[in-house]
């Protein structure tokens, strides 16, 4: 039992700095972005002597794989956006629907799942949603069910592959779990959670989807794949193959993703020189992740993550199945209190320091990924942070009918988590 001895005299200070930083990330006073709020917190950890300057440098350097990965991922998503890939995918969904709103919803969910799995949940939500909105409007349909479908499938499908969600890379990198062993469990779990989501959406919107779309745009009016440069399409195929090989041989994902981005950018360049090729790289994500690494190191050295591990894993540490379930629900709750990236960082560190057996650590990685990826949709505004933002938006007179999506999140989140957990327990726990 390490619970009693894990706290140090520095614990209250470390906890205060972390909570204050999360507070700044949530409230964003003085137009402070979350990246700089996290940077301030990391600086405070160093100034307070909780993390040595050398320690901070090695924390940042230790995250090289994750940081390189994010540069590559956001860059690749930007190339995909510029290439018209999203419009072509939406056009295919429109053609497949044949004017039936139900089939259109299923096609949108499928398109969102593919984008989320290959280019991350955030790319699916931020880039695909407006494209889908325009598509649905042209059918004369109310866009609400379809916009919500994009939001939810972005996260439901994001447990599929390491590239599908920043959380996945953070967790697998910190816990040293191989990408291949995760994919074997989480890809089928993602399929289950996407189908569970689709079932929920059909059930929730059974009275709001008409039998036929009011407008039937001409089939040839949709964007087609011929608009996407051939060589770029081939490069996307090569990229997916490269990832499969890299995962199978345990090549670090950061350099692989960066190489994929450079390949895509090079091929885009041969077609038509992009105006601002570095636009769309998530620099603020890099600052946030690097700072989070230092912040969590401060928490860890003050014994707080060990205390958290004791609370969460204390009774169940020897049973992988129980570890998976407990970490999934704890990470889901944590993601709704703070944002899911900080929650994933803290959980990964807590599990890492708990000295679990290999099987339990593997189960904990899967559980944390499921909880932190799918959990934020419970209050579909994502976390307390976004909930507060919504309050602000409403005060400024923007009409946001919050209930229409809170209702959906309350149903979808538990169902998708249970579906994913069920499959993960079947496939991911040695028996």
């Amino acid at each position: 039992m390490i619970a009693q001895s894990s706290f140090t005299p520095a614990s209250p200070l470390a906890a205060a700095i972390f909570l204050l930083t999360i507070g700044l990330v949530i409230a964003r006073p003085w137009r402070l972005t979350e990246a700089y709020a996290a940077l301030l917190g990391a600086a405070a950890m160093v100034l307070a002597g909780l993390v040595s300057p050398n320690g901070a440098v090695s924390d940042v350097a230790g995250n090289w794989n994750v940081l390189l990965f994010f540069v590559g991922l956001t860059g690749a998503a930007a190339v995909a956006e510029r290439s018209g890939l999203f419009e072509a995918l939406a056009g295919t969904s429109a053609r497949l629907s044949g004017g039936s709103p139900r089939r259109l919803l299923a096609a949108v969910v499928a398109a969102g799942a593919i984008v989320a799995a290959l280019l991350s949940n955030d790319a699916a939500a931020l880039v695909l949603t407006p494209v889908v909105y325009v598509l649905v409007a042209r059918f004369g349909l109310s866009p609400l069910p379809f916009v919500l479908a994009c939001t939810f499938v972005a996260d439901a499908a994001s447990i599929a592959l390491p590239v599908s969600n920043p959380v996945n890379v953070i967790v697998s990198d910190r816990l040293g779990v191989s990408a291949a062993s995760l994919i074997l469990v989480l890809l089928p779990a993602a399929v289950a959670s996407v189908f569970a989501l689709l079932g929920c959406l059909f059930l929730i919107y059974r009275r709001q989807l008409p039998a036929r779309a009011p407008l039937v745009p001409a089939a040839n009016s949709w964007a087609s794949w011929s608009g996407v440069p051939r060589r770029l399409m081939a490069a996307f195929g090569v990229a997916v193959g490269a990832f499969a090989v890299a995962s199978a041989f345990n090549v670090p994902l950061g350099p692989t993703m960066a190489a994929v981005w450079l390949l895509l950018l090079g091929i885009e360049w041969t077609n038509r020189r992009p105006d601002r090729p570095l636009d769309g790289i998530g620099w603020s994500l890099l600052i946030f992740v690097a700072s989070m690494g230092v912040l969590v190191d401060g928490l860890s050295s003050a014994g707080i993550t060990a205390w958290l591990a004791q609370i969460v894993l204390g009774q169940v540490r020897d049973s992988p199945a129980a570890v998976m379930v407990v970490t999934a629900f704890a990470a889901a709750v944590g993601s709704n209190l703070v944002n899911n990236l900080p929650a994933a960082f803290v959980f990964a560190d807590a599990v890492h320091g708990a000295g679990l057996s290999a099987a339990s650590a593997h189960a904990a990685a899967i559980g944390t990924i499921i909880g932190a990826d799918l959990g934020p949709n419970l209050t579909p505004v994502g976390s307390v942070a976004t909930l507060l933002w919504f309050v602000l938006l409403r005060q400024r007179g923007l009409e946001v009918s919050t209930w229409s999506y809170i209702r959906v999140g309350l149903i979808v989140t538990p169902v998708t988590i249970l579906a994913a957990l069920g499959v993960a327990l079947l496939l991911g726990v040695p028996r």
């Binding site: 956006e81 955030d122 407006p130 909105y133 866009p143």
Partner: protein, 166 residues
């Protein structure tokens, strides 16, 4: 009959195409004494969800330019509204020959905008479907959608609730 009857027809767009015949059966076959204003309300909630919500929720990700997206979505809504009203214009003109037809597009929450428009236009009646999105529904519990319920509750003028029977 000297004063034309002003009818405000609220259209979500997905109503059954037999709606104009139903209206003609109740208010008469048409003629110049009837003025019909076709109203379509663009819902702004989904647009906010697609732009603000995503941007706020995924703040770490490099954001596409929000104003550019909003502009794109608003254009799509305007085009859809115009196309919908054109389709319904033809249907009403066929079912009620000789009537005057005007188009009106509003933005906001449909239930509120319908009531507001009826007051502003001094409409003699509001006409709307009980459950516009799902088409024909038998009378019974929950057969009236939330928009129609709100309009019945708050309308300053008589409301004609249409159920298209299949």
């Amino acid at each position: 009959m000297s004063v034309p009857r002003r009818l405000l027809v609220a259209l979500a767009g997905a109503e059954d195409s037999a709606l104009p015949e139903q209206v003609a059966r109740v208010v008469g076959p048409g003629g110049p004494a009837v003025e019909v204003t076709l109203l379509h309300v663009e819902e702004t909630g989904p647009r906010e969800l697609a732009t603000y919500h995503q941007a706020v929720r995924r703040g770490y990700w490099p954001l596409p330019r929000k104003d550019a997206i909003e502009h794109r979505l608003a254009n799509a809504d305007d085009e859809a509204a115009a196309a919908l009203l054109t389709v319904w214009h033809e249907r009403f003109a066929a079912a009620m020959p000789g009537i005057e037809i005007a188009h009106l597009v509003a933005r906001g929450r449909p239930e509120q905008e319908i009531v507001t428009a009826a007051g502003r236009l001094h409409a003699d009646a509001i006409i709307l479907c009980a459950r516009p999105r799902t088409g024909p529904t038998e009378p019974g519990p929950r057969s009236v959608g939330h928009v129609a319920r709100f309009v019945i509750d708050h309308s300053p003028t008589p409301v004609l609730l249409i159920r298209v029977s299949s």
